[in-house]
């Protein structure tokens, strides 16, 4: 690795406002060469101090580019730092050991091969790609690959280490966006008025433009900073930005520069938002305006006064305002030769020339001045993004040569202060901000009071109106040349061409040329673009209007937006047992369940032969109490519930109002006015809200109390011919078939645990009991069952075995054997639907479906070739290749030793015995036959009734 010349060839002696720590020196690398910097230096200031002039190559033409704004928006200083792409090098502070590289160069920044595009530039005019590569069509993919090589950006790496990001909530009464003089004054005033304040500043220090000002500015800065620091209820966030404002002052604040946190998203709900974003200096459009050495006056003053860097040795300062004059004075004081070109006296710059940087400047009077630095000070852009996001669109004021927000259109919860609101002396702006800060506090405190139920008794603060100072309109030099958007390599000529081709509004020009779509999102480019469109169309800038500013104000990392991962999962109380018995996990919505314990087929056989237990805790459970529960059940389910006796259980199906099957499950009556409802696992939340919706909105007169108890109970299904024998050893409930028959419910003690609910039901088709035990005893009951049933051959079974068992039995699964259009009759639930009930949810559609009878049907299907198990989702096709149905469930039945299926088929193909063709995934066909019943095994249900 080579070493650079000793850093600091352009470093000046100590400056009064400098932000670097000269007592220390740190090293970093720039394109492989070691450079030095002082703490407080940005990457760009350190490189500029070392005499680096070219930082990057441009997008299309690979022109050399240097510093333009010397702040976070600088399009010329976007660099790769380690594995982080697109780092704003004029904002990011140097850290020891940083590996900084230029991004859009090959093979090197100095000798960039793609710079030949400059020669081809006349053919790469705006929209060129819309006009070529059209034929032959087969070559477009190749052209596209070439275009993609030109992508102007840094790179990510698939295995780069990911830093830590997090989030925070904040609830300040007043949030001030911008820590310049107005922002600080507003924050102090709001705090003194009793508001809690968050003051957010994008740069690394408070002070805004005062930091690079004269002695008086620095004194003012020090006073305001001291006042901010004296207020205990102001929280200051520097190197942070209000990236976006959303409804009701929900603000996205990005906080950087924290130890151990790459970036933090602070989500703030502010009472009042004070926008104090200041003004952004607008570049001037003229031929050669992108040459390294062309800089804004603010960039020059930043470099000189914050970083003690001399940006050139012979300067032309093109100025139209006092800030430009001050830049000229600062340059002179730093020993730079300066020629001033004063726009207020009618002189303008028309061209800068040079190879790899400014060498000479040509003026409108034809004169030519040799210089290595051209400073422009032609006006300002109000970065009104946060106001736009608040619904207030600024209007153009030709007298001030900028867009200005309309206070009347700004919502009450948002107040603009400082340069964005208007012009004035430093003291006038501070006085305005002081009043606005007090008003902001008053509005925020009144809002908080009204939300707490108190009346608004405040006295409004009179906020003086800021005026506007005259500023000449200077956007571009004619005949036009130069770049409007340096990030996108869009020239003034491109804008004019686009308008001539018919893209003659701001929005169409933006989309056609991509002007304003780069990293600064138009903060430097929008007004010049609009001015050119206005010039080309013969309209005024006000008529032309600007494009919409959208979030983000400055870009925010995906890491900060994502924050830490909070993706909760649910486990049953028996999970430790499942884990220690090597259960294969199955993700079922929020739940993690055992899919099997190694051999689902063996699990099926054991249930059919001995006894198995399955953890069914995720089944939704609702406790229903009150005198009107039966009415609710009659309304929600398609079948009848009025006659359900105490101690009885019934299967029920719910449909939505369009007749489509919504959920199913069993509900048991525990006492006169007390029922327990079960739902599918995934439907637990939906059914609860569904029941509440009907109770609260349609039948508030019904007395029913619904309590979700899904996780209050651990649920275990004990299934198999030996389940009664097993359970008899552990419960005080009389299990005799006569005392506790099929489809009954009992409460009692199991394994010493009181208040358990036992349902005798049979999803698996075997004699089985579903136990709901208080959740904290779930593991105990499970382990006791396993230990007690050892001699009976007990084994656990998982979801896969249950799927096979239920398919053998022909029980449908809502959402698998039905879909978003399957009405109850199509699910084969004819027996359940009771159209003679007075009302139930979905009844009219079901009545019409029954009357029409043309609907698809769910049927049992038996593959004739017993060696072929059709895949689920395989399509059933007619002779002509039309789709007439599909396989919804399919397994090889261990009990029957042959494949078994359920499927949806068109009505005319649903008769038992019909043979159908199934197109398999491998493209071959197989034949299945419609069976008489859904159940392939024990259709009479004898095994579950024993």
């Amino acid at each position: 690795m080579s070493r650079a010349r000793p850093g600091g060839s352009h470093r000046l002696g100590a400056r009064p406002g400098e932000v670097i720590d000269r007592s220390r020196t740190i090293e970093f690398r720039w394109n492989g060469v070691t450079h030095t910097a002082h703490p407080g230096d940005t990457i760009a200031s350190a490189l500029a101090a070392a005499g680096v002039r070219v930082f990057a190559r441009s997008y299309k033409y690979h022109r050399p580019r240097g510093l333009l704004t010397a702040d976070i928006f600088d399009p010329g200083a976007i660099l790769q730092v380690g594995d982080e792409p697109n780092v704003r090098a004029a904002h990011r502070l140097v850290e020891a050991g940083m590996d900084v590289r230029s991004q859009n160069t090959w093979p090197s920044l100095r000798y960039d091969v793609k710079a030949v595009n400059q020669l081809a530039g006349r053919f790469l005019a705006t929209g060129f790609y819309y006009k070529t590569f059209i034929k032959p069509e087969r070559l477009w993919p190749t052209y596209e690959k070439v275009l993609r090589r030109f992508v102007h950006a840094g790179e990510v790496s698939p295995d780069s280490e990911q830093p830590y990001f997090d989030k925070r909530y904040a609830h300040p009464d007043v949030l001030v966006a911008g820590g310049g003089p107005a922002g600080m004054a507003a924050a102090v005033a709001a705090a003194r008025a009793g508001a809690s304040v968050m003051l957010v500043e994008q740069e690394h220090q408070l002070g805004g433009h005062l930091r690079w000002g004269d002695a008086e500015d620095l004194r003012c800065r020090d006073e305001l900073v001291a006042a901010v620091e004296a207020e205990s209820n102001i929280e200051v966030l520097t190197d942070s930005v209000v990236a976006a404002r959303y409804d009701d002052n929900w603000l996205a604040v990005v906080q950087r520069g924290l130890p151990h946190v790459a970036e933090r998203l602070v989500k703030a709900r502010a009472g009042t938002l004070v926008v104090a974003a200041g003004l952004i200096e607008r570049p001037y459009v003229f031929a050669g305006n992108d040459l390294p050495g062309v800089m804004l006056s603010t960039a020059v003053r930043r470099l000189l006064n914050l970083y003690a860097v001399r940006p050139g040795s012979r300067a032309v300062v093109f100025t139209a305002n006092p800030e430009g004059d001050a830049a000229a004075a600062d340059l002179r004081a730093a020993g730079v030769d300066v020629v001033e070109v004063d726009a207020r006296h009618g002189r303008t710059v028309v061209r800068a020339t040079g190879r790899g940087g400014v060498e000479a400047v040509e003026l409108s009077d034809g004169s030519r001045i040799e210089a290595d630095l051209l400073v422009t000070a032609v006006g300002w852009t109000a970065p009104t993004s946060l106001l736009n996001m608040s619904g207030a669109n600024p209007g153009y004021r030709p007298d001030a040569a900028r867009f200005v927000p309309d206070p009347a259109a700004t919502p009450a919860a948002v107040i603009a202060v400082g340069g964005i609101a208007g012009d004035g002396t430093r003291d006038e702006l501070v006085a305005h901000a002081d009043a606005a800060g007090r008003e902001a506090a008053a509005r925020a405190l009144a809002l908080a009071a009204s939300r707490a139920g108190s009346a608004d008794t405040r006295d409004p603060v009179a906020v003086p109106q800021l005026g506007l100072h005259h500023h000449p309109e200077l956007f571009f030099a004619l005949p036009t040349g130069g770049f409007v958007d340096m990030s996108e390599d869009v020239s003034a000529k491109d804008i004019l061409t686009a308008v001539k081709e018919g893209y003659d509004s701001s929005e169409l020009v933006k989309r056609y040329t991509t002007a304003t779509m780069g990293p600064a999102q138009g903060k430097l480019e929008t007004v010049n673009t609009v001015a050119l469109v206005a010039h080309a169309t013969g309209k005024t800038i006000a008529e032309t209007g600007a494009t919409t500013w959208r979030p983000m104000y400055t870009p925010i990392t995906l890491g900060a937006l994502a924050g830490r991962k909070f993706e909760p999962v649910r486990h049953s109380p028996m999970q430790p047992w499942h884990t220690s018995h090597k259960a294969a996990p199955l993700i079922a919505g929020q739940w993690i369940r055992p899919e099997h314990y190694g051999d689902p087929v063996a699990e099926v056989r054991n249930v059919r032969q001995n006894v198995g237990i399955i953890d069914v805790t995720p089944i939704g459970k609702l406790d229903l109490q009150g005198p009107d529960v039966a009415k609710l059940l009659n309304l929600l389910y398609v079948n009848k519930w009025s006659q359900l006796g105490i101690g009885r259980v019934r299967y029920g199906v719910m449909c939505a109002e369009d007749g489509v099957v919504l959920d199913d499950g069993v509900t048991g009556r525990l006492a006169e006015n007390h029922y327990l409802m079960s739902t599918t696992s995934s439907g637990a939340g939906t059914v609860w809200e569904w029941a509440e919706n009907w109770l609260q909105t349609e039948h508030p007169e019904w007395q029913v109390h619904v309590t979700p108890v899904t996780t209050a109970y651990a649920s275990i299904n004990v299934a198999g011919p030996k389940s009664r024998e097993l359970l008899a050893r552990l419960t005080d409930v009389d299990l005799d078939n006569a005392a506790f028959g099929y489809m009954n419910v009992r409460t009692g003690t199991i394994a010493g645990v009181a208040d358990c609910v036992l349902w005798r039901i049979g999803f698996t088709g075997e004699l089985s009991y579903e136990l709901h035990v208080p959740a904290s005893y779930g593991l105990h009951v499970w382990e006791t069952l396993m230990a007690t049933g050892a001699d009976l051959g007990i084994a656990p079974f998982g979801v896969e075995a249950q799927r096979i068992l239920r398919l053998e039995k022909g029980h449908l699964i809502v959402g698998q054997d039905t879909d978003g259009l399957t009405k109850a009759y199509s699910a084969g639930l004819d027996w359940a639907v009771k159209l003679d009930k007075p009302d139930f949810v979905g009844k009219p559609e079901l009545a019409w479906q029954a009357a029409r009878g043309e609907h698809p049907k769910l049927v049992g299907l038996r593959p004739l070739d017993t060696s072929v198990v059709p895949e689920e989702a395989a399509q059933i096709i007619s002779d002509g290749g039309y789709i007439v149905g599909r396989i919804t469930s399919s397994r090889l039945s261990p009990t029957l030793g042959r494949p078994i299926c359920l499927g949806q088929v068109d009505a005319h193909l649903a008769d038992p015995g019909t043979r159908l063709t199934v197109r398999l995934r491998n493209g071959s066909d197989t034949t299945v036959e419609v069976t008489a019943e859904h159940a392939h095994f024990d259709p009479e249900g004898e095994r579950q009734r024993v």
Partner: protein, 83 residues
């Protein structure tokens, strides 16, 4: 994030609520024609402006309630509680 005012709980983040939809009255299922029933199922006024609608405060008091909201700017004003 928009704030929504629950009649029980006051102004809360809208993420606490579930949007149920335009407030509609259910036709009598015994007498409704298919056309009437399907207009109830599928059709919406969908105005650009004020509308009566139902929300559910799922992460709060769990009440269904009615509110009037302007669909253009999401401004709100109270409506009678639907229950």
């Amino acid at each position: 994030m928009m704030l929504l005012t629950c009649p029980n709980c006051g102004a809360r983040n809208v993420s606490e609520f579930r949007y149920v939809g335009e407030a509609k009255s259910r036709p009598d299922p015994e007498t409704a024609t298919p056309e009437q029933w399907r207009r109830y199922l599928y059709f919406h006024r969908n105005p650009a402006g004020w509308i009566k609608e139902t929300w559910y405060h799922g992460s709060g008091c769990r009440r269904y309630f009615g509110i009037e909201r302007n669909t253009v700017d999401n401004a709100q004003r109270p409506a009678g509680v639907t229950s």
